[in-house]
């Protein structure tokens, strides 16, 4: 019997496999909602189950956790301004503003719908043209990534708010903070002051918990906020023009997510910044971004979903895990003596196609699961803040602790909470700091590797076509931004983030 997609679909629709898929999606949503407790930790805990479950079922479930977590990830960012991971920082920017205006339901709904669109389109791409895409991804070596990272820095314009200077300063601070720890190349200590826990460096999650979550609680306590939203809750599902705007933004976000997501060195968090920037640039009303704009939420959520699922492309077609969660999925394959890669399709076609088919079903389950939850989640915003504030703090602490199981990270979160509070009062934007924090170490790593390749000369950046292309694109973007700010006279005030 010929093994193909339809066969896989049939197989994925059996009661057992549907159950595995559902459990995976449900678990994924739950761990996605809880900040810090990401899919990686959950998958690691469930890995020993591989000796009891049949391979197809187990992989379907683990994959479900992996992409399911992306759906849940937006909940705390939108409702509490607590982004559970770096890729939902920008979801919080517009999503939380929507919640404050009583439109939290719409934000949650569009992020579920956007995630569904992105997830499904990415699986289609995965199914049709994974191997050539993965080959293209391999063309990116260290010099290409340097150019690409520089290009990503141009998104600073979109997230800096009123003052570009403040944005650049915050991004620089982020890069500096990210360099604490051991030198990635030589293992020498940097900025640790001989204090052993600092050798680990700062993790992005505790920084997020502090800068966004804890500082929000402090600010609300300061302002004596009764509850995040006091009026009557708006509609739960966006309609008409708003829905259309959100759908188009989701499609654009998906495109950005897939194109950049197939590159093994790109993280969904960086990609979400590019998607947001792109969305702001094509928009007719860029000044609305940061004030609760449905396109901002949709594009970011779609892009990070597409990007993380696109990470499965190098895994399934070449056996290269590109992030921690993919590495665990890879480990699960190995526990069964299977090797992800082209051989998986020729030798275990039945299983490979069943897993792919299950991802369509999984995405459908997730959107069905998440849309009704919107009605429950959104009520969180109306809970009196004297109860919600402490709960938010607890969630932040647990999130900070659970990434690396250390109390050091909780202290980090508290310190960044105070820093974030001061930044909010003084109107310093937090998103550029995060951008610098996640881009900095990558840029450093690739820049130093490039220079090692070239023996120390910069010429390596001007002889490789992809590198040159991105360098020119970077210059073009900077030029465009400069011209734009020039043409816009002082009169128009751009609302900051």
């Amino acid at each position: 019997m010929e093994v193909n997609f339809l066969y896989g679909l049939q197989n994925a629709l059996t009661l057992t496999n549907l159950l595995y898929c559902f459990i995976g999606a449900l678990l994924g949503t739950i761990v996605g909602v809880l900040p810090g407790l990401g899919p990686t930790a959950t998958m690691a805990m469930l890995l020993p189950l591989t000796s009891y479950l049949d391979p197809t079922g187990a992989i379907i479930m683990l994959a479900g956790i992996f992409y399911g977590a992306m759906y849940g990830g937006s909940v705390t960012s939108i409702l509490l301004n607590v982004p559970g991971e770096a890729s939902s920082v920008l979801t919080a920017v517009d999503g939380f503003q929507m919640t404050k205006k009583g439109r939290g339901g719409e934000a949650l709904a569009i992020s579920a719908i956007g995630s569904f669109i992105a997830g499904t389109i990415t699986v289609i791409v995965l199914q049709i043209c994974a191997p050539p895409l993965a080959d293209f991804g391999l063309k990116f070596g260290a010099p290409e990534y340097v150019a690409l990272m520089l290009f990503c820095f141009t998104t600073l314009v979109a997230v800096s708010g009123k003052s570009m200077l403040k944005g650049i300063m915050m991004a620089t601070l982020g890069m500096l903070l990210a360099s604490i720890g051991l030198d990635p190349m030589t293992g020498k200590q940097r900025l640790t002051f001989g204090y052993a826990p600092l050798m680990r460096g700062l993790d992005v999650i505790p920084v997020l918990m502090g800068l966004f979550g804890i500082s929000e609680v402090l600010l609300s306590a300061d302002e004596g906020v009764q509850s995040i939203y006091t009026g009557k809750l708006g509609r739960l599902i966006p309609r008409g023009k708003e829905l259309l705007k959100g759908l188009y933004a989701s499609l654009r976000g998906t495109l950005v997510g897939i194109v950049l997501g197939i590159l093994p060195g790109m993280m969904p968090s960086v990609i979400s910044f590019v998607a947001y920037d792109f969305e702001k640039r094509v928009s007719n009303e860029p000044s609305k971004f940061g004030t609760g704009c449905i396109e901002g939420v949709a594009a970011v959520e779609a892009s990070n979903n597409a990007a993380s699922e696109a990470g499965l492309i190098p895994l399934l077609s070449l056996g290269l895990p590109t992030n921690a969660a993919c590495a665990l999925l890879f480990a699960a394959f190995m526990m069964y003596g299977l090797q992800p890669g082209p051989l998986l399709f020729s030798e275990h076609g039945e299983m490979a196609w069943t897993i792919i088919a299950s991802m369509y079903i999984g995405n459908l389950i997730l959107v069905i699961l998440n849309l009704p939850l919107v009605g429950i989640w959104v009520r969180l915003a109306t809970i009196p803040y004297k109860y919600l504030g402490p709960i938010t703090l607890a969630v932040c602490f647990i999130g900070a602790y659970s990434v690396r199981n250390t109390l050091f990270d909780v202290w980090t979160a508290i310190i960044f909470g105070i820093l974030g509070y001061i930044m909010k009062i003084k109107d310093w934007p937090a998103a550029p700091l995060i951008l610098g924090f996640i881009l900095g170490p990558n840029l450093e790593q690739h820049l130093r590797a490039s220079l090692q390749m070239s023996g120390g000369t910069l010429s390596i950046f001007f002889v490789r076509p992809i590198t040159v292309f991105f360098l020119i694109l970077t210059l073009f973007m900077i030029l465009l931004s400069v011209l734009r700010t020039r043409s816009k006279t002082k009169g128009i005030k751009i609302r900051g983030i």
């Binding site: 690691a44 293992g187 895990p321």
Partner: protein
């Protein structure tokens, strides 16, 4: 702070001595001297989930937990090249309920090549060595090299044209590289002009070789297997004397005449200094038992490792000798 810990340690030591005396008492009646484990055991892995150390620790812990009818949690405390996690495990109570998933990266390598390491590797209780895994020399597919001799020839003729990917002399995978370079130097071949390109991890390195961005690198069998089967890299040698079950066609370094390029990675269990000898015995005995179980052997094989049991004393000597050997080599 320091005094506090010191005091704690003294009290603990006293407790352990008391326990020991009591247990000696028990010995005369029956052999079951201490009741262990009576509560969940935490195995701290100072590396990320899904890596070699983590996977071996998980396979072994699961089997041990079944034998003992106990709960063993593998907890990942990654970051900082494994140093902070190791420190945390080794400064906890030596009560047998906090165990370190130890590996080259947290013992021999860090002692030989690390800078400002906040611990001394002789100051811990080595419990048992569990498994070993070989390292593989991989090259770009469009290179004609067939063996390490061809690589040596290429370095001799054109060192500045060779890009060698590695992990910066901070990880187990770098040990065979350093051993190979030392062997070349011994033959009078200058290796200083080879361009060493540093990658953050084995899978990044495998990706770079597959993409043709560097010519050669050394990685574990787990990170290279699929890429190799996809035809994106070539394997030219595997470290050690014996060939490896997953790649029976790949000749070993020793077969190719490189008798000093033999380093293999290991994973074992260790604990804070002062763990009671009885608990060590229990771990040694059960670890040896589970490593004879064909099911465990098979599970290890799937993650690219082979059982390599060594008892507490042998494991300690193995690590300390290895550290001395690596220290003697120029990084």
């Amino acid at each position: 702070m320091k005094n506090k810990i010191g005091l704690k340690n003294h009290i603990l030591l006293l407790l352990i001595v008391t326990l020991f005396v009591f247990s000696l008492n028990g010995c005369s009646k029956n052999n079951q001297s201490v009741k262990y484990p009576t509560q969940p055991i935490n195995v701290i892995c100072p590396w990320s989930a899904g890596g070699s150390t983590d996977l071996v620790a998980r396979v072994a812990s699961k089997a041990l937990a079944e034998k003992w009818g106990a709960v063993i949690n593998v907890i990942n405390k990654p970051g900082g090249k494994g140093i902070p996690g190791t420190l945390e495990a080794l400064t906890s109570k030596p009560d047998g309920y906090t165990i370190l998933a130890d590996a080259d990266g947290s013992n021999a390598i860090v002692a030989a090549w690390g800078t400002d390491v906040p611990f001394d590797i002789s100051e811990r209780t080595y419990i048992a060595k569990v498994a070993e895994f070989p390292w593989l020399f991989i090259i770009r597919t469009d290179l004609a090299w067939k063996s390490l001799n061809d690589v040596a020839e290429a370095i001799k003729n054109n060192p500045e044209n060779i890009k060698w990917g590695w992990l910066g002399g901070t990880a187990g995978a770098d040990a065979p590289v350093v051993q190979f370079m030392a062997a070349l130097e011994a033959k009078g071949i200058d290796t200083s002009k080879v361009k060493m390109v540093t990658y953050p991890g084995g899978s990044d390195l495998a990706t770079a070789v597959a993409g043709g961005h560097v010519d050669i690198g050394v990685v574990s069998s787990t990170s290279v297997g699929p890429v190799y089967n996809a035809g994106k890299v070539k394997l030219i040698a595997i470290t050690g004397k014996e060939r490896f079950q997953s790649f029976p066609d790949v000749p070993t370094t020793v077969e190719q005449g490189w008798n000093t390029v033999t380093f293999r990675g290991h994973v074992g269990f260790a604990a804070p200094k002062g763990l009671s000898g009885d608990i060590v015995k229990i771990w040694e005995r059960t670890t040896e038992e589970i490593l004879k179980d064909p099911k465990v052997v098979e599970e290890l094989a799937k993650i690219g490792a082979v059982p390599a049991f060594a008892n507490s004393e042998d494991y300690r000597n193995y690590v300390l000798n290895l550290a001395d050997e690596l220290k003697a080599l120029k990084k």
